[in-house]
């Protein structure tokens, strides 16, 4: 199971800025707490120094005289100062000679320890912070003139400071957390502001890709994203304009294609029209002589009407084919369209000594198509079939209903000829514009046909064998209007051709 997550740009921006926010706020909080902590400790040290300096002033004279009663009093008074945990006075040997609770008799009996020796021997204030016990130890030698008299040592309770530090830490963390959350909200807004237009651009690209050229991003901003959105909208506008121009060009080309087809039929059509006219002319020449013969008059009337109707029908078909059409999708019968085209081309087939057969399915459903466009497709494909036959041959036009993949239903128009066939190397190119193997061909017919069928959501399949003939399968979907047509290249010799 592939659980790979593809994070969005918005999520990436959010996460990156959130990490930055966390680091920035965290660093700020850490530095604030540390500086406050150091400040409080420094203040405590300064107070401790002031206290020990003050104590030194009062302890020097009694220490000089070794007045242990007074030293004891001083130590007791020092102990009574705020935050003072203990107070010791050492003599020049490092022995305790004054503290706040010891039995006086023990003063001089108490042996000097390493710390007291170090205090007496040092020349400066010694400060040591015991974080575990929460005590600040501060000591100082007592010197009078050049004589070291001893030392003093104070222990200051740091727990009130630590409590204050804890309160500051909690407050700082609370404020930092609030700033962090506010930062996250701001980041969310920033991420939205950055990616919102990009999302709209993405949506716009999709919509345009789907053919909705009316879509506009509509982001009014003066930054790069605003410029990009404006460029996008401008591009869409131009694309719409080009699309309009393209449609106009396509319309012109399609009309030219139809006229080209008509041009190819000119000889046959002239013959088709001339024959009835000759018959009518012959009857008209004989009319003065045989006007009194009722049988002649009846035959003339019948013949003239029949031929005129035939010519009128032919002209109507031609006009219908040649008329510039506007896109008009309606429910139509494919058999009727195919039949009309075959009728137009019937004379051409006869001229070419090609037998044309129709196998039209009687149970075809009506389909939503542009009738004139499908006529053009049928004309192009059937005319190509006729033209591909050198000498005598056969063109079979069939219609049928088939299901693709068992779900989608198509009406299929099959045009099979016994012509020369298409070389395999050319099959891929036959739907490309301006590709032709004919001397006087434009190379647009099949290209336009493919485009029309594709616009109807259908597709064309070609099967051909050189020397044996070619089969074109025009597949038009059976579905309601509004249902989107599938797009793609024409399929050649496709397995699921629907035959």
């Amino acid at each position: 199971m592939n659980l790979r997550i593809k994070p969005s740009l918005k999520l990436k921006i959010f996460l990156a800025l959130a990490v930055f926010d966390l680091v920035a706020v965290g660093t700020l909080a850490y530095l604030t707490i540390r500086s406050q902590r150091n400040l409080l400790l420094d203040q405590m040290v300064e107070r401790a120094k002031a206290s020990i300096n003050l104590m030194e002033l009062s302890v020097t004279a009694p220490l000089y005289r070794l007045d242990i009663f007074q030293l004891e009093t001083i130590a007791r008074e020092a102990k009574a100062l705020p935050n003072v945990d203990y107070a010791y006075v050492y003599d020049d040997q490092g022995r305790i000679v004054g503290d706040y609770h010891y039995d006086r008799r023990l003063y001089l009996a108490k042996l000097p320890d390493e710390l007291s020796q170090r205090i007496v021997e040092s020349n400066e204030i010694l400060v040591d912070v015991d974080h575990k016990k929460g005590i600040l130890h501060i000591s100082k030698p007592v010197v009078l003139g050049h004589q070291k008299l001893g030392g003093i040592r104070l222990g200051l309770d740091l727990n009130p400071i630590f409590r204050e530090i804890r309160v500051i830490t909690l407050k700082t963390l609370g404020i930092s957390a609030t700033i962090f959350v506010l930062g996250l909200l701001a980041i969310l807004a920033i991420a939205e502001r950055i990616t919102g237009p990009i999302a709209r651009l993405t949506e716009g690209a999709k919509r345009i890709e789907q053919g909705d050229l009316q879509y506009r991003v509509g982001v009014k901003r003066s930054d790069e994203i605003g410029n990009l959105a404006a460029a996008f909208d401008q591009m869409a506008e131009r694309l719409m304009h080009r699309e309009r121009e393209l449609r106009q060009s396509q319309s012109i080309i399609r009309r030219a294609d139809r006229l080209s087809s008509l041009g190819m039929l000119t000889a046959g059509l002239a013959h088709e029209i001339r024959n009835p006219l000759v018959a009518i002319r012959t009857f008209t020449q004989l009319l003065p002589e045989r006007y009194q013969e009722p049988e002649f008059r009846n035959s003339f009337q019948a013949l003239a009407l029949k031929e005129v109707d035939r010519i009128c029908g032919l002209i109507n078909d031609l006009l219908s084919f040649a008329r510039p059409s506007t896109p008009n999708v309606s429910e139509e019968d494919a058999n009727e369209i195919v039949d009309g085209i075959v009728r137009i081309l019937d004379t051409e087939a006869k001229e070419r000594e090609v037998a044309m057969y129709r196998h039209l399915s009687l149970d075809l459903p009506k389909i939503f198509i542009d009738k004139e466009q499908i006529k053009q497709v049928s004309m192009n494909v059937i005319l190509n079939a006729l033209q591909s036959i050198e000498g005598r041959g056969v063109v079979e036009v069939s219609t049928r209903l088939f299901s693709k993949n068992g779900t989608e239903q198509y009406v299929q128009i099959e045009v099979r000829d016994s012509g020369a066939g298409i070389p395999e190397k050319d099959i891929e190119d036959i739907f490309n514009p301006f590709f032709t193997t004919k001397k006087d061909g434009s190379g647009l017919g099949l290209s336009i046909s493919h485009q029309i069928v594709q616009e109807h959501g259908g597709y064309i399949v070609v099967e051909s064998q050189v020397g044996k003939g070619t089969t074109f399968l025009i597949n038009l979907p059976v579905r309601q209007p509004g249902q989107r047509a599938a797009k793609g290249r024409p399929q050649v010799d496709e397995a699921d051709s629907g035959r």
Binding site: T60, A61, Y64, G145, Q147
Partner: protein
């Protein structure tokens, strides 16, 4: 080869003093020159005099002294003992301790030390301007206030003046009165005698002339001087009796020349604005003897507590 040996010998010659100096056998004994001082507050005593003693010690380096120390004691007896035991080499004090320690420990006065810009000072006996006391003879039947018993200026010298004027002194308890043929006296604390006079607790008070001059004008205006003592040296510097005469000579020479040396001037000034140390005027030796005689005859055993 010869050059190398010469070089080694030369090097040994160069470093010989160093080797000898670092050897315990040849190392010069580092001596302390110790200054003695009688004062209740050892901190102030040391702070005011350390620079002076350091200067002396530095100048006595030729005599083998490397450092100056100050020994502060509360009374004269311990200082006398320290002088006898050689623990104090020299000291300074006013004339009374000088004569007492001279007798007890054989200390020898060698120079006079100025103080507050004065070589000598005297004391005065004051009375209210509106009183009938016009001189010391008028103090009969009156009460005089002194400061502490050991105060030279506010007790010993004025009392000596009264005795020299054949007045008989007797202690009284306030608000008691003296007998008609006697001068009653009481002791106060430092500066308290003037206060007793101003508040009419006593009829007269003794103090130094300098302190009288420093009184506020409105107080001064209410007082008059009814007696004045002889002038005595401000301070006298003495040495222990068994101090090496060479050292004594050097010490005396150093001190007499301190005011001519900028560093010496500074060191002197730090010590109660001393400007000078000079020879003891010949006349002062007789005065010292008079004071010694007076002190031992009048105070005897009391001196042990001073």
């Amino acid at each position: 080869m010869g050059a190398a040996v010469t070089f080694v010998v030369f090097c040994l010659f160069l470093y010989l003093p160093h080797f000898l100096g670092s050897s315990p056998l040849f190392a010069a004994e580092e001596k302390l020159i110790v200054f003695g001082r009688i004062q209740d507050d050892p901190v102030r005593a040391v702070r005011d005099r350390q620079e002076f003693v350091d200067y002396i010690a530095k100048k006595l380096a030729r005599q083998g002294y490397s450092e100056g120390r100050i020994l502060v004691v509360g009374k004269m007896r311990p200082l006398a003992r320290a002088l006898r035991e050689g623990k104090v080499d020299f000291f300074h004090d006013s004339v009374v301790p000088t004569v007492v320690l001279s007798r007890w420990a054989g200390a020898i006065p060698i120079v006079r030390q100025w103080k507050y810009g004065e070589a000598e000072y005297d004391s005065v006996i004051l009375a209210k301007k509106n009183s009938r006391i016009g001189g010391v003879a008028d103090l009969k039947g009156k009460t005089i206030g002194f400061d502490e018993p050991h105060s030279t200026s506010a007790h010993i010298l004025p009392r000596m003046l009264l005795v020299e004027n054949e007045l008989k002194l007797a202690p009284v308890t306030l608000p008691g009165r003296a007998k008609q043929d006697e001068v009653g006296f009481v002791h106060g604390a430092d500066g308290n005698a003037i206060h007793m006079l101003v508040t009419d607790a006593v009829d007269a008070a003794a103090t130094s002339t300098r302190e009288f001059k420093e009184l506020r004008p409105e107080i001064q205006d209410r007082l008059k001087i009814v007696g004045r003592t002889r002038s005595v040296p401000r301070l006298v510097i003495s040495v222990r009796k068994d101090l090496d005469p060479k050292v004594v000579k050097a010490l005396k020479e150093i001190m007499l020349n301190m005011d001519k040396d900028p560093d010496g001037k500074v060191a002197l000034k730090k010590q109660q604005r001393t400007t000078k140390i000079d020879e003891i005027p010949p006349g002062s030796f007789q005065l010292l003897r008079d004071i010694e005689k007076f002190v031992f005859s009048h105070f005897g055993k009391q001196l042990d507590s001073w």
